[in-house]
Amino acid sequence: MPSFQEIIFKLKQYWSDRGCIIQEPYDVEVGAGTMCPETFLRVLGPSPYSVAYVQPSRRPADGRYGDNPNRLFKHSQLQVILKPAPADVIEQYLGSLEAIGIDLRQHDIKFEEDNWEAPTLGAWGIGWQVMLDGLEITQFTYFQQCGGIDLDVVPAEITYGLERLTAFLQVKDSVFDIDWTKNFTYGDVRYRDELQYSVYNFEMADIPTLWKLFELHEGEAARLLSLYDPKSPDKQRFPLLPAYDQVLKCSNLFNTLDSRGAISVTERVGMIQRVRKIAVAVAQAWADQQSAAAEEVAQ
């Protein structure tokens, strides 16, 4: 029975063998692997790019103090981006499941319609949730739009829920019981995170401070964006990646405020718009910056 980390090793090796860059997790807090610049920005423009990485993903509202066997504040996604999507992308995906020891001739695999959408990122795609013996193990998406931009080349995004997948393979009813290694369970490694972040997100986070931080990061993103000049000969130097980090900070603060119950439903829509606005602005500037870079290379 493979351990949690062995499953990760095998999947990384599998995608590495198929030409993916293996990245480490992004070092700013995100709600999903999609939000990392390796996905959000790299899917823009015509250049091919294939990458896989494990991304710890924070969902403050999903925390349950470690009490619920299936819900986590922070779960781990294996994010795979294949751009452009190869014609046999689903075959490759099924092969990855076999690589971690699932004999698909003896299991029931179904692709159920599930179109993904992230309003704060101006992003959506067409795809499925992949069901294995009735368990959703993967979200499979053909990106259509990102940062409000129609994509030049359609990438496939494959997002594995690693805890669930491992619980399935190890036949465990609680993710906290899965074996991270032979000697340590998931609970040994992560229970404290679940408990303490739930306490913080639901009870102790200081709302005025979070608001202030949100505004500071939003302001910094907006300040940088206002300085980006598409006509500048030096625009390749322009720090759009740091500007995007500010967007990610805002997104996480928004989620934390939300879980803290500090955002009314009416405010919610406005907040989503605010994050979306700077996310879309970064995407557009990035597309401009990178297309210019591509032209330079071509010359």
Binding site: A87, Q106, V154, V265
Partner: protein, 647 residues
């Protein structure tokens, strides 16, 4: 000698198409093919999630040869023009014919057009046809300018007899290679039109939806599953090789409400639920997998574990929600937006309360309204949104609200369709009416009026529900008084009322128009009148009388008769006019059913013998008054002039 005919096979191989779109797409593809000028004897359509298939029989190899006549210059034209025409047709001037037309004599040439090869014709047309298939949402999967389809096309089989119909679409070349089940079949399988279905079967694909449906039905037989035709269709179109398996769950979960258990099984897991011998839920389920067997029990155990986790979640939510009563949640509704322009659910609840009072709701109805939206703040409804209302009702029950109250909360979203039942008791009917009327009034007030297929707030369904509740709940209320004098809303309702009585209840459209023209604010009254007109219609006197009423209406309209005043007996002419008046006096106030046979001959005779348009203005006026009085007397049930008559 009959020409040899050929079979045609088109298989569009795709990634998994959403099950609910498949039947419509097939029908669409069939229509597009029929529109092509390709003769054929029959067409059969089939599909699995990964292939749309069209098979036609009896195609010719080529279209019949035809002749095309080209008209040239007039006979009187200069020789150069004639020679030019002949050259263009590739013949000598002496090969041209001369034709006499109404405009004179003209040169012409009849060209032999060889019939096109069907293979060429199909090769040219198929890419366009495939991309024209309508899907509610499409995608691109290559580049931005690339083709759009429901999901990526990965292979295409196009065979006419033994030949491949050659074309390319989205980088895929048509071929004679199909693809089997994703894991149990080969990826490339050479086929012919003759062995196609069988070869697929060898590779674990049952092409026919009917056969997949039958296979599932057969495997369900003997299991007391709750009948669920919609779920069955989903499973038919989400599998290529369906097989039913049974699983179990811990009977301790049966302590959770059945509604929650069924929702988890049906909506989230696509399982059939199973009944015990007494109509209660048994701790079992039936799942349909996309492989032929589960010898090791992997699939069964996997599904059982997923269900256990789901049920555990539901129980966790159920228990968490009990920590705060529904009544205690009322203030929280201030933070739940109903609609940006229409305020919070707390405000909606307040408006509904006033409406429920005006609708004659009792204390139970009012209490139910107060609590009706509180379940929107519960964890269970956040998780299972489709159970809104139901969950509120269940919580109200365990929180000891009186039966009429919890049932009213439970039923508040009913009826959800024309086939659904209305809330079982009056309190629930009032809550449902108040909810729907408030939504309708609010949306129409702020201009969110449905147009075409755009109806994001499902206002048609809401209005339809109001109509159904009023009629079937026998609630005699002046509906118009609740529509805030909003003409758009009034018109909207008129359409819903017509639809209900015509399409749902089967009344003839002219009967509905006739009865509505006599008023439609009280829908119970309208229904009673419709039934009377419907019963009256087959009687021999009805049609002639309806025709006479139409005539009366026309006469009054032509005379621009203002419609006031009394009949002066002294001005009545003895005979048919006086007789008609006497008859009217004798029967006034009686239901038309009782008097129609007596009235009709008098009306007929009147029109036969009496000239309404009398020279004496006073007599004319009096006659018009008589007709007006008669029309008014019997138009309270329906405006009979709206009835379509055959005479």
């Amino acid at each position: 000698m009959t020409m040899e005919t050929l079979p045609f096979l088109l298989e569009i191989g795709t990634e998994e198409i959403p099950d609910w779109m498949i039947p419509d797409a097939l029908e669409n593809l069939r229509l597009l093919f029929e529109k092509l000028a390709v003769p054929h004897e029959s067409v059969a359509m089939d599909a699995t999630p990964r292939r749309l298939v069209l098979r036609a029989e009896g195609l010719p190899a080529k279209l019949a040869d035809s002749e095309e006549r080209v008209m040239g210059p007039a006979k009187s034209a200069p020789p150069q023009a004639v020679a030019g025409f002949a050259r263009k047709q590739g013949v000598k001037p002496e090969d041209l014919a001369v034709e006499t037309t109404p405009k004179g004599e003209y040169y012409s040439f009849t060209r032999q057009v060889p019939g096109r090869r069907i293979k060429d014709l199909l090769a040219e047309a198929l890419p366009g046809i495939i991309l024209q298939i309508y899907f509610p949402k499409t995608m691109y999967w290559t580049v931005k300018s690339g083709p759009r389809f429901i999901r990526p096309i990965r292979w295409i089989v196009a065979l006419l007899g033994q030949d491949i119909v050659p074309f390319e679409l989205a980088g895929v070349r048509s071929d004679a290679l199909t693809s089997g089940h994703r894991r149990l079949g080969a990826r490339e399988i050479a086929i012919t039109t003759a062995d196609y279905v069988e070869r697929l079967r060898d590779h674990y694909v049952i092409l026919s939806a009917e056969q997949r449906r039958e296979k599932i039905r057969r495997e369900l037989a003997g299991m007391p599953v709750k009948s669920d035709p919609a779920l069955l269709e989903t499973l038919v179109y989400i599998t290529e090789y369906p097989t039913a398996i049974t699983g179990n769950f811990d009977s301790q979960f049966l302590a959770l409400p059945e509604e929650v258990l069924i929702t988890v099984m049906r909506h989230h897991q696509k399982y059939f639920s199973v009944e015990d011998g007494h109509g209660n839920l048994a701790p079992k389920f039936v799942a349909v997998m996309n492989i032929p067997s589960d010898p090791q029990g992997f699939v069964q155990r996997g599904n059982e574990r997923v269900l256990r986790a789901r049920f555990n979640d539901a129980r966790f939510f159920w228990e968490t929600d009990q920590k705060k009563t529904l009544a205690g949640r009322i203030p929280d509704l201030a933070h739940v937006t109903f609609q940006a322009k229409l305020g919070s659910y707390l405000e909606k609840t307040e408006r509904m309360k006033a409406l429920a009072q005006d609708l004659g709701g009792d204390v139970h109805a009012i209490r139910a309204v107060e609590l009706s939206k509180c379940d929107l703040t519960t964890e269970l409804v956040k998780e299972f949104t489709e159970l809104q209302g139901v969950v509120g009702g269940l919580y109200a029950r365990v929180q000891d609200e009186p039966e009429p109250v919890w049932q009213a909360i439970y039923d508040q979203y009913k009826p959800e369709s024309m086939e659904d039942r209305i809330p079982r008791h009056r309190a629930g009917q009032i809550v449902s009416l108040a909810d729907k009327l408030d939504t309708l009034r609010g949306c129409f007030r702020v201009g969110m009026i449905p147009s075409g297929s755009r109806d994001p707030f499902a206002l048609r369904r809401a209005a339809q529900g109001v109509v159904k509740i009023l009629v079937e709940g026998k609630i005699e209320l002046p509906l118009h008084q609740f529509l805030e004098n909003n003409q758009a809303l009034l018109d909207f309702f008129a359409d819903r009322v017509k639809f209900y009585f015509k399409d749902h209840r089967g009344f003839a459209y002219d009967e509905v128009n006739a009865c509505m023209a006599a008023g439609w604010s009280d829908l119970v009254d309208l229904e009673a009148r419709l039934e009377r007109v419907q019963n009256l219609r087959p009687t021999p006197d009805f049609e002639p009388l309806a025709a006479s009423f139409k005539r009366i209406r026309n006469i009054l309209e032509q005379a621009k008769f203002p419609g006031a005043g009394e009949v002066h007996e002294g001005l009545l002419e003895p005979g048919p006019e006086k007789d008609l008046y006497e008859e009217y006096r004798g029967i006034a106030g009686q239901p038309i059913e009782n008097v129609i046979s007596r009235l009709r001959p008098k009306v007929d005779l009147f029109f036969d013998k009496v000239l309404v348009n009398a020279p004496d203005a006073r007599v004319r006026q009096n006659r018009l008054t008589l007709l007006q009085t008669l029309l008014a007397e019997f138009s309270t049930i329906a405006d009979f002039s709206e009835i379509v008559t055959h005479s």
